[in-house]
Symmetry: C2
Subunit: 357 residues, 2 copies
C-alpha cells in the first residue's frame, strides 16, 4: 500500500502549511539543484539572491545580506553562532525572554554559550527590565521575538535593541513565524524600527514557500563572514551556512511565493487569518473558556485535558502550550469553515455548564 | 523571464545528482510534510522509520537508530556533537585524517572542539600510525572516511576503529558519498566490519533521493539521546536533530529510491559508474596526464590550469582538488556518452605534445 501524506483539513497546530501553487510548481522544477554549490548550480544561486533582496524589502533592510536556511532553527543557531564568534568575552552569554523558541536552548547547547532566560510580563511579552537585569559585559546577544511560538506575541523590539546596544551586544529578532504578518500591522519589529543585527524570517511558514525555506538576514556582510569556512572541491570558495548541500526546491519556491504574494497576497492573508483568530477567540470565550487574546493569528485557550483529548480523538491535530492551553495557529491552510467545524466538535465534547451561550 | 534550473548534461563536479523518477514523484507528493513534527505528520514519520531500517540493512546495522538529516554536513556535525556531549574530558578533541570533508572543520568551530588532522599515506588514505599518534585520553571521536570527497578513497576502517577503542573514544565513519557504492565492493567499511558508533550515509547523493536527504545512523539509542532537547508546542516531546522543521520530500524520496533500487539497481549503478571511471582514467592516462587511480567512481587528474579553464569555458562544470587536480565524480547522471564528449573537448583544448596517443 502506497503511503499518503496527511491532508491539512484538520491540522491546527502546525506552523507549516500548504505551499502556494506557484511555490509548489517552482519547488518541483528546482528539486535537483543545490544552492550550497553556487558555482555549479548558478540559476538557483541567482534565485537565492532574489529571495534575500525580497526579504530585505519585507523586513526594512536596505542592501540585505543573508541566505535561505533549512528553517528557523538553523537561522537562530546561526545568530547565536555569529554573536559568539564575534564576542570578546571568554564565556559569552545570550539573554532572551522565556518565550523564545526551543531552538535557542538547542543553540546554546551546541555552541556552548550560557542562555539566560528572562521572565515575561503579564502580557506574555518580554519584560525589558528583566532582560536588562540579566545582561552584562559578557552578553554577546540579546534576543527578541516578533511573534512568539506559544502566544503570537511581539516583544518590545526597540527597547530590547537598546538594552543590546548598552552592552555592545548584537541584537537578534526571531520573526520566523511572524515576519510575513507583521508588515501589515502597526507593530515595531523590523530593521527599520530598531537596531536589529540579525533576523530569522521563514518563507516556509506564513510565506507559503515549500519546506525547507528558512530565512537568515544580517545587517552587514561582516556578520556572515563571522560564520564562513573554506570550501575546497566546490567551485565557490567560502560557506557561511550551517548545512552544506541545500535545497534548491526551498529557494525556488520562496522566490515564487514572494513574487506572487508580496505585498497584496500576504496582506489579504494576514487580514483573513487575523479575523479568523478573533472569531475563534470569541467563540471559545462565549463557551466559557479562558482565552489568550490573539495579537497575531494564534489562539490559546484553557481547555480541560479530557476535552482536549476528545478533540484529538476526533482527528484534530492540536497541541498545547507549556501551560497546557490548547493552541491553534491560523496558518494559510486554516479556513473559517475548518474552525467552524472545530468549534462544533468543541460543543460536542464539552460537558454542559452554566456559561453565557 | 522564468528562471530555469541547470541541466545535468555537463555537471561533472557535483556529488548531487538527478533523483530517481520514483524519488522525484514521492518528493512531490510529500512536499508539504514535516517529519520534524511526527505527531502532526504521522505518515512521513512512518516513512522515516522505514528509511532508517533500510539504511541499517545497507550499512550492516541490526536495529538501526537514526534519522534523515539535511545532508552529510549535519550528520557529521551531529557525530561530533554526540561525542563531545558524552566525553568526560574538559577539552575533548577529534582525530581525523586530513582527507575529511570540510564539514568537520565547520563542526569543530561550531562545537568548540579541537580538530586534529593526521597526514595521509601515499595512497591518499588515512595513515593509521599518524592517527594513533594524535589520539590521547581527551580524544572523544576518531573519524574514518569511506569514500573521500577528493579521491574516493576508503580509509582502513577496522584499524581506525581499534585506535578509537584503545582510547575509549567513539568512532565515526563518513560514508556520505561512498555508502551506496561500498556494499558492492570487498572493502571493509560498515558497522558489520568494525566497531563503528556513528555513520553518515546520504540518500541524496548516490542513493538518488531528492535533496535534502542525508543520513545519520547510530549504533544505539543512547547516542541519539545525547543530542535530544525538549520540545514544547509539538505533539512529540524530544528532538535530537540539528534542524527543527525538516523536509518530508527528502524523507519520502529516500524511501522511494531505496525501495526501487536496493540492492540490484544500486549494484548495477555502481558497476556502470566504476567502469566509466576506469574508462575515463585510462583515456586521460593515454593522453599523458597523471591520473589518480579510481578505487571508487571518482577520477582525479593533473590537468594544467589553462586546459582546465578552457574546459570550463566549454561549459563543463568541473572542480579541483586541494592539490589543483581536475576532479570528476561519476554520479548516476554521468553517462559514458557525456564522458566521451568531455574527452573530445580535452583533446581540443590540449596542446600537441609527445605522448603515447
Amino acid at each position: 500500500m502506497r503511503a499518503e501524506p496527511q491532508d491539512f483539513g484538520r491540522v491546527l497546530s502546525s506552523m507549516c502549511t500548504e505551499p502556494h501553487p506557484a511555490a509548489r510548481e517552482a519547488a518541483e522544477r528546482f528539486l535537483a539543484t543545490n544552492p550550497g554549490d553556487p558555482g555549479t548550480y548558478e540559476a538557483v544561486a541567482d534565485l537565492e539572491e532574489r529571495v534575500v533582496d525580497d526579504l530585505g524589502a519585507i523586513v526594512g533592510l536596505d542592501d540585505p545580506v543573508g541566505y535561505v536556511a533549512s528553517g528557523g532553527t538553523e537561522a537562530n543557531i546561526q545568530a547565536v553562532r555569529a554573536a559568539r564568534n564575534l564576542a570578546d568575552a571568554a564565556n559569552p552569554n545570550v539573554v532572551a525572554p522565556e518565550s523564545v523558541h526551543f531552538s535557542f536552548r538547542k543553540a546554546a547547547g551546541v555552541l556552548d554559550v550560557d542562555l539566560r532566560l528572562a521572565p515575561l510580563s503579564d502580557d506574555y511579552r518580554a519584560d525589558v527590565d528583566a532582560v536588562r537585569e540579566l545582561a552584562d559585559d559578557d552578553t554577546a546577544l540579546v534576543v527578541g521575538v516578533a511573534g512568539t511560538t506559544e502566544y503570537g506575541r511581539v516583544d518590545p523590539i526597540p527597547e530590547l535593541g537598546a538594552v543590546a546596544r548598552d552592552h555592545d551586544a548584537l541584537f537578534h529578532v526571531d520573526a520566523a513565524w511572524g515576519g510575513f504578518f507583521l508588515p501589515f500591522t502597526d507593530r515595531e519589529w523590523s530593521f527599520a524600527d530598531a537596531p536589529v543585527d540579525t533576523m530569522t524570517i521563514d518563507p516556509h511558514k506564513v510565506g507559503q514557500a515549500a519546506i525547507p525555506a528558512g530565512g537568515f538576514l544580517v545587517r552587514d556582510e561582516s556578520l556572515l563572514d563571522a560564520l564562513a569556512v573554506d570550501t575546497p572541491y566546490l567551485e565557490s570558495t567560502g560557506q557561511a551556512t550551517l548545512t552544506g548541500t541545500r535545497s534548491g526546491a526551498g529557494v525556488a519556491s520562496a522566490a515564487a511565493a514572494i513574487d506572487e504574494l508580496w505585498p497584496d497576497g500576504y496582506r489579504e492573508g494576514y487580514e483573513r487569518a487575523q479575523a479568523d483568530a478573533e472569531w475563534l477567540a470569541a467563540a471559545l470565550t462565549d463557551r466559557g473558556y479562558d482565552v489568550v487574546e490573539p495579537t497575531l493569528p494564534l489562539v490559546a485557550a484553557d481547555v480541560p485535558e479530557r476535552e482536549f483529548e476528545a478533540l484529538r480523538d476526533a482527528g484534530w491535530r492540536i497541541s498545547r502550550t507549556g501551560d497546557d492551553e490548547l493552541r491553534i495557529v491560523c496558518m494559510p491552510h486554516v479556513t473559517r469553515t475548518m474552525l467552524e467545524s472545530f468549534v462544533a466538535d468543541v460543543d460536542s465534547v464539552r460537558p454542559r455548564r452554566n456559561v453565557n451561550t
